[in-house]
């Protein structure tokens, strides 16, 4: 495995971490301010709850604070390290809350009426229209609800790829799975989400 080449950003991050480990409180505050938004969004998209997202974000930072000494710059980017920690905490939270009862597995039977109107007309196509429904608050809510029904493996993959814009290598490092598996999960997650949205739309109408 090739070691990542230290970039200017990673060197700056390393300097901040070093200051933090040296007892500089402002460095820790800098870390929190830099990453809290991203961590909160991952947690929110994974749990679908603002309260849970807030609690989990705090838990993530407490865990980061406690284990900051163990971070090794040579082994990967700090963002990836934080993402891995967030992902592990989310999986733990998922197991504790037994959320898998409402998870709609990829193996679940697809809609019996395949000829029913699809969501294609209601989610943006390659050519987004000004009155696209996805821009509305209601559609956002529907997508978030559909996301909640994905299995945790697919959900975390699509969140990291489509919402956090992480590349496949970073996702593979964060999830500790091969890059091919990451791509496969992303494909399955996207198609499953589209099916869930179609089903939801049909139920609404």
């Amino acid at each position: 495995m090739l070691l990542p080449v230290p970039t200017e950003e990673s060197q700056l991050t390393a300097a901040v971490i070093k200051r933090c480990l040296g007892g500089d409180a402002s460095a820790w505050e800098e870390i929190v301010r830099s990453h809290n938004r991203r961590i909160y969004n991952i947690c929110y998209r994974f749990t679908g709850s603002q309260d849970d997202a807030e609690d989990l974000t705090q838990e993530v930072f407490i865990r980061i604070y406690k284990t900051l000494k163990s971070y090794d710059l040579e082994r990967g980017a700090f963002t990836t390290w934080i993402t891995t920690m967030t992902r592990n905490l989310l999986v733990d939270h998922f197991r504790k809350s037994k959320q898998d009862r409402v998870t709609d597995s990829m193996d679940a039977a697809p809609s019996s009426d395949e000829d029913a109107p699809t969501l294609g007309e209601h989610i943006p196509d390659e050519k987004p229209t000004p009155d696209a429904a996805v821009q509305t608050q209601e559609t956002q809510k529907m997508v978030q609800q559909a996301l909640q029904k994905l299995s945790p493996e697919l959900r975390e993959a699509v969140i990291l790829r489509d919402l956090q814009d992480m590349d496949y290598r970073e996702i593979a490092d964060a999830l500790k799975v091969p890059e091919g598996t990451v791509k496969s999960r992303i494909n399955r997650g996207r198609t499953e989400l589209a099916r869930l949205l179609s089903r939801t739309y049909r139920q609404v109408n």
Binding site: W28, F61, M106, L119, I123, L163, R190, L197
Partner: protein, 263 residues
Amino acid sequence: MKHEGQNKGENGIQCVDFDARLADVLDGTVSGAELEAFKGHAAACDDCGPLFTQAQRGMLALKSLVEVEPPLNLVHNIIARTSAIDPAMALRMAQPKRSLFGRVREWSSPVLNPVVLVISQPRLAMTTAMAFFSLSLVLNLAGVKISDLRNVDLRPSAITTTASMQYHQTTAKVVKYYENIRFVYELESRMKELTKDATKSDDQNNDQKKNDQKQQQPDNTSQKPGSNNKDYSLGEGEEILAVLRFELPGITSAQIQNTGRNS
């Protein structure tokens, strides 16, 4: 996920390869002939075609989600919780980094502020100045230089050592000075004693001379009253045990007496 057409090979692409390249195609990293072959397979394959469409729609649905704003107090809450783990960090977090002088001044301000208010009054300004002057004088005499003080000198062990050295050095100076003074006093007292002895001898000589004159001249009425002085250094009834006769060689006492009369 069901993917029945895994072995199909429309347009030279297997369904397995289609699945592997799907993410890259949606990312826009595939182009040219490979992209054309991919799209041809999607159009021809009954399984891969819907898969491509759904994956594309799913991706767009996810991309449509906007970033949510975290709660305003999230950063504060995180810092508060981490501070609970490490109170020292909380203290440092609450207070910006200050210099040593600033920290000392802040620490001592409850005590020093009232004192400064009092001594800054005009009527006490001169007293304060004198006290400061006296203190600096004492420190100078004791050999203490403020500019030489370092942090390392403020350790309890260093303070004890310095105080002990100062005490012994000062004691040695005082003892030496006292010894010198005693030597001078002893020398002076010896000199006084010697001087006193010499004076006594002169008086006794004079008395002897007067007695001799009295024997030679019984009528002494012509003598001045003041010249008949007694030697009061001797008590009544004390007898002289020894007398020092001072005579120069070649000159008799009679000649000396004559010289004294002529003068």
